[in-house]
Subunit: 341 residues, 2 copies
DNA sequence: GTGAAAGCGCTAACAT
DNA sequence: ATGTTAGCGCTTTCAC
């Protein structure tokens, strides 16, 4: 049997309560007594039982992450692994653990949150892939589960959000293309039900408007490779086809580039292409993909830190704004060759 | 306050113990009493507290997964997300949760396991990325932590392993290339410290030997894109350069293909290429990558199931053998053009 | 300032 | 076969 609080109390000649106070740095014990207790605990090599702590304090000492994504997307998204690593790096400093759940359909998502709460598995959750009109906000409210969200849904939310302007990345991409002489710059959108899907589209529109260019070359897609192909095909079939396409993520850009190349277009000669995410493989395409890079590790670290602060009551509830993503110019973008207008 | 076992006991007019027995389907209560108890529990909407259960039974009702990988690899590996989804699908049926840890350096890995145990976070762990001479085996033994491993390390291990023959996938790839007339078939190896790195290399060697061809075109790498580039460059610089390269994963194959294309080689004209993993992006390369596909979802599901069985004492300890991976022939492989020997 | 003691909600050893 | 009861290891209230 491992050493318990009673052993320490006995060794230090005090009560269990005193030990608890002493070790949690709370008032209720004199400094000398505290010293003695700390000493005894160290001597005995006492490690407070997380289970007992959790039980008596009704805490899980864990945070939850429910990932609701299509497997195909999960597998290629460079965001999640780094994001999770970021979460972990914060949690490991605080004796917290991460409980990960993967939900493959909408119902499973809600069930996941409910189970996490019913089982007392977590003290709070991190919400990613925010959606416009996001049902999770009401759900978590009902469940009284503390949360932090990545980006802000248009659904009013009582939860702290980590935000940035996707805007800046897309804007930089569009401006880069305009600088290369492009005037027919299309956008292949990510699923518009997602906050980041829509904000990227809006950023594209605004950047074009700001330059006095029409934002009429839009093709809706869903962040998947096959969606990217379909959208690209639709755009390239148009008589006023674009000379550049801004994609909402690298996977669609990759698929789109592949489609263009196999249909006789040169990249960037006939068509310039930009992605979003900076997936590892993107720089090994032919040509390597110009893309936009954020800092998922940092997002993860911060998201966990903010949530922990909140649980400890040391966060003021203000949203956190992260630095904007950066444009990485590579071979898939180049000067417009000629205008066919 | 939520309804507890005492409430149910009172309502059913029995002791707490009786309720515990009744609800866990154990002997000790008559069928009539059991009926009454179950009824009362349902009426009151009683959900046994996982925390209390865990506390009194010293169980976590959770499994752990410690991922020790370079972030760059984590982000492009299609294996993990699907594998984790598989684990989840089994766990969610058993009131178990998954605690995920990411270790970015070797020390962190050991610390992770120790923390998981000390905190009583998990009842067992799933080991992936097995290494030859794997230190985790001794560690888990010391920690008395039940485990299941993916593949078997050469370190003798008391843990059940899920196995397959990588062999079959690589063999199929080499045979496919031989069938296309290739005779100088190289291999760009994954880190040889890993079981799957070495087994793929050995499979390549054996397949060539079986066909009476020399296995002398080997370049060591580490599963990373940049490693793939370096290895490819070394191979293509050789006077007896290969007409086909079998890569140990898709990321290296992608990077290698990119290198070859940008250095004037045509694929598959001058060089045929095969990968391993069937990453989503691989079919959107130019040309699309011939690769080898396993079933990570199934691996995950099984790994979790076997471990749970083991915890329940219902597994005989026999290794589980999974079906071999499949070769997916795509555009990156073609007939050898001519021989320059 | 200090310490005793009462839970927290279960499980399991123990009487009956 | 059934029910009683003593913990599990901590936190926290409440006397002292």
């Amino acid at each position: 049997m491992a050493v318990t609080i009673s052993d320490v109390a006995r060794a230090a000649g005090v009560s269990k309560g005193a030990v608890s106070y002493a070790l949690n740095g709370r008032p209720g014990v004199s400094d000398v007594t505290r010293q003695r207790i700390v000493e005894a605990a160290k001597q005995l090599g006492w490690k407070p039982s997380l289970r007992a702590k959790g039980f008596s304090s009704s805490k899980a000492y864990a945070l939850g992450l429910v990932v609701a994504r299509d497997l195909k997307l999960l597998g290629t998204d460079p965001f999640f692994p780094a994001f999770i690593a970021g979460i972990e790096s914060t949690l490991s400093e605080h004796e917290y653990a991460l409980v990960l759940t993967i939900a493959t359909d909408p119902d499973a998502e809600e069930r996941s949150y409910r189970k996490l709460v019913e089982g007392g598995r977590v003290d709070g959750v991190i919400l990613t892939d925010m959606r416009n009109d996001d049902s999770r906000i009401a759900l978590l409210r009902e469940l009284k589960l503390p949360a932090v969200t990545l980006e802000r849904s248009d659904t009013p939310s009582p939860f702290t959000a980590l935000r940035t302007d996707d805007t800046d990345g897309i804007t930089a991409a569009v401006d880069h293309l305009i600088g290369l002489g492009h005037t027919r710059i299309a956008h292949v959108g990510g699923a518009q039900a997602y906050v980041h899907g829509r904000s990227r589209r809006l950023a594209w529109e605004r950047a074009l408007s700001a330059a006095g260019l029409p934002a009429d070359l839009f093709a809706d897609a869903d962040f998947t490779a096959s969606g990217g192909v379909t959208a690209t095909e639709a755009l390239l079939r148009r008589p006023d086809r674009p000379t550049a396409i801004v994609y909402a993520n690298d996977l669609m850009a990759t698929a789109g580039q592949s489609f263009a190349l196999t249909h006789g277009f040169t990249v960037p000669g006939d068509l310039s292409i930009t992605g979003f995410d900076n997936a590892e493989f993107a720089q090994y395409l032919n040509p390597p993909l110009t893309t936009i890079s954020s800092d998922p590790l940092r997002w993860g670290r911060l998201a966990a830190a903010v949530l922990l602060d909140q649980l400890a009551g040391t966060h003021d509830g203000q949203d956190i704004v992260l630095p904007p993503p950066r444009l990485l110019v590579r071979g898939s973008t180049g000067p417009v060759r000629f205008s066919t207008t």
